[in-house]
Symmetry: C2
Subunit: 197 residues, 2 copies
DNA sequence: AGGCATCTTGTACTACCGTACAAGTTCATG
DNA sequence: CATGAACTTGTACGGTAGTACAAGATGCCT
C-alpha cells in the first residue's frame, strides 16, 4: 500500500482521442440534438475526461463542427454504396425505395442528416456541409435517374422525413411507384396500371 | 421627489401574457432551436420579466409545448389558405409551386415545421403534433391532387427543405413541372415535351 | 539516460440555467 | 371602500454549462 501511487493515465494516442470524440459527438447529436450536446455529454460518451474535449477542440462549436464533418464523411460512404446498388439494380425505382426504407429504419444517420439540415438553416457556416450532401445525393440520383434527379431527391427526402417524424415506416410500394411515375417519359407507351377506381 | 414611489406594474391581462409568451417561444425556436430556447430568452423576447414565464408555464417543457401548440395552429391557418388557393387556381401545379416558393422564402414558419419534425423524431410526446400537421397537409393535397397527394407532399417537403438548407430559393418552374408529371395519369395522351437530346 | 514538446487529467472559475418564492399590485366582489 | 384572490415582479438558490489552466505522465530525440 504505497502512498506514491501514480496517476493512472492511458497511453498517448491523439488520433484515437479525436476519433472517439467525433464519434461521441455524432452519437450525442443523433440522441439529443445539437442544441443539447455539451462538452460533458460528449466526454462521458467517449469515456474520456472533460479536459480532453477542449484540448482537441477549443470551443464547443469546433467540437460540433468536427462531428458534423465526420457525419458528412459517413453520408459520402452511404452515397457511394447507394450508387453501386442503383447501378446494379434491375429496377432502380424499386431499389431506391428499398434504400429509403433501410435509411429511415436505421434512424441514426438519417436523424443526423436532418439535424444538419436544421442547423444549416440557422448557421451559415454549416451551409457548405449541407450543400455538399445534397450535391452528392443529386449526383448519385442523376446517374440513375437522369434529369429527374431533382424530383426523385425531393421525394426521397420528403418520404424519409415523413417516416422519421411519424414513426411509420416508408411505404416501399408507394414510393417505388411514385419514382416510376416520375421517371416515365412521355413517349413511353407502356400503359400505367390503373389504380382501382 | 417622494421616497415611496410604488413599483410600476403593467395592468392585469393574463391572455395578453400568454399570447406574448407563446409568440416569443415561437420566435426563439425558429431562431435558435428548441434545444437553446430558455426561460430567459423567451422572457426577453416577450418583453416580460422572468417570473412571468414560470407563472404561466410551470416548467420549460410546458413553455415549449405551448409554443409548438401555437405553431400548429399557424400551420392549420396556412393550410386552409393553401386549400383555398389550390381550389381556385387554374393550374394547381403552378399554384403549388408558388406556395412552396413563398413558404420557403418566409423562413420562420417553415423552420418551425422542421424544428418540430426534428424534435418529434426524438420526443414521442411531440409525435401527435407532427402527425397532425402532415395529416392536414395530406388532406389539402388530396383535395387538389387526388391519389397523388403522398407523392406531391413528399416533393413539396423535400423541395422546401432543400431550399431552406441551401439558401437557394425554390425553382418554381421545375417544381411545377414535377408536380404536373406526377399527376399526369397513364392514359393521358398529350405528349410530353421532349428535353433537348 | 535525460530533456522537452506533447499529451492526459483533475479542478476551478464565471456565467447562465430552471425553478422557487415572497412581496407588492390590481381589481372584481361584497 | 374593504377584502382577498389573482396577477406582476424581483430576487435567490442549487445545479450545470463553457472554458481556462496547472500539474503530472509520456515517449521521441539526441
Amino acid at each position: 500500500m504505497s502512498a506514491d501511487q501514480r496517476r493512472v493515465q492511458r497511453p498517448r494516442d491523439p488520433q484515437a482521442r479525436r476519433d472517439a470524440l467525433t464519434a461521441a459527438v455524432i452519437e450525442s447529436i443523433a440522441d439529443v440534438g445539437i442544441g443539447r450536446t455539451t462538452h460533458r455529454s460528449v466526454a462521458t460518451r467517449a469515456g474520456l475526461p472533460l479536459g480532453a474535449t477542449t484540448y482537441y477542440f477549443p470551443t464547443l462549436d469546433d467540437l460540433v463542427e468536427a462531428g458534423l464533418r465526420r457525419a458528412a464523411e459517413i453520408f459520402d460512404r452511404d452515397l457511394t454504396s447507394w450508387a453501386e446498388r442503383l447501378a446494379a439494380a434491375a429496377d432502380p425505382a424499386t431499389e431506391l425505395a428499398a434504400i429509403a426504407a433501410e435509411y429511415a429504419a436505421d434512424a441514426v444517420p438519417a436523424r443526423l442528416a436532418y439535424e444538419l439540415s436544421a442547423a444549416a438553416m440557422r448557421d451559415e457556416r454549416l451551409r457548405p456541409l449541407a450543400h455538399r450532401r445534397l450535391g452528392g445525393l443529386r449526383e448519385v440520383l442523376e446517374a440513375a435517374f437522369g434529369r429527374c434527379a431533382y424530383a426523385v431527391g425531393a421525394v426521397l427526402d420528403g418520404a424519409v422525413l415523413q417516416a422519421l417524424t411519424t414513426g411509420v415506416p416508408v411505404d416501399r410500394e408507394a414510393l417505388a411507384s411514385v419514382v416510376r411515375r416520375l421517371t416515365r417519359t412521355g413517349d413511353d407507351r407502356e400503359p400505367l396500371r390503373r389504380d382501382r377506381a
